[in-house]
């Protein structure tokens, strides 16, 4: 019974996404681009960088990258924390 409902949920979700997505997302290859076109046009003056993606990553959306670096930092710290050798003997 649970399986049946899970399948139903999955299929309904997929149909929903396919219909909603294909009918409504802009035609493939012609995205709306006010923000992106501004960045493409102005990167070289504002950020002095030839690599537009690099300029977006480190200048226009640099704060996201700081967050992303923090996520990696947190995950590595977390891995080392979880896999640390506890001084006390495990007692489970």
């Amino acid at each position: 019974m649970r399986q049946f409902f899970a399948w139903l949920f999955l299929i309904v979700l997929m149909v929903f996404l396919v219909i909603g997505g294909f009918e409504m997302v802009h035609p493939f290859g012609e995205p709306p681009s006010t923000m992106d076109q501004y960045i493409i046009d102005n990167t070289q003056q504002e950020a002095g960088s030839n690599n537009v993606v690099g300029a977006v990553v480190f200048d226009y959306r640099g704060f996201d990258t700081l967050g992303e670096a923090t996520v990696l930092f947190a995950a590595v710290t977390g891995v080392l924390l979880v896999l640390r050798a506890g001084k006390k003997k495990e007692e489970t």
Partner: protein, 151 residues
């Protein structure tokens, strides 16, 4: 692993390092950047772990040092971001200055490393962070599953 594998891995590591550093430091001119270059070098370290065994690598790459490198990479990144706070946090204050200050001509051009303002510095910081972080994580996982533990 056998001696052949270890020797080849030893030789290859040099090229991996050179390529990784190239990708990191040309992040603002060509495809690439700190994350990508860092991942390249970290995968080189994973190659060494596979070839030599995690116990052997542990002696040369101590967790403490990796932590220091990782923290300093992250600190370099956030300090460069803080340095712009005279104007606004994350302001690209080096564009037009002496350090990485070149402004490339508009449109298609051959590319110049001495451009980008703070972007190369941030790439460097992120690169250091990713190298140390990913190697520390992989090393910890490898050591733990082979029964040894980090310090």
């Amino acid at each position: 692993m056998s001696k052949i594998v270890r020797t080849v891995a030893n030789q290859l590591m040099l090229f991996v390092l050179v390529f990784g550093i190239y990708v990191i430091m040309h992040g603002h001119v060509t495809p690439g950047g700190g994350f990508q270059g860092g991942a390249v070098i970290a995968s080189g370290i994973v190659m060494l772990i596979v070839a030599f065994g995690s116990g052997h690598i542990k002696n040369s790459l101590r967790e403490r040092r990796l932590s220091v490198v990782e923290s300093s990479g992250a600190l370099l990144f956030i300090v460069v971001a803080f340095a712009g706070i005279g104007t606004v946090f994350f302001y690209n204050f080096l564009v037009g200055s002496r350090i990485f200050g070149g402004i490339p001509p508009t449109g298609s051009n051959p590319g110049d490393v001495w451009t980008g303002g703070v972007i190369p510095l941030m790439n460097l910081g992120v690169g250091l962070k990713v190298i140390a972080g990913l190697s520390a994580a992989v090393l910890a996982l490898a050591l733990f599953s082979s029964g040894e533990e980090m310090e």
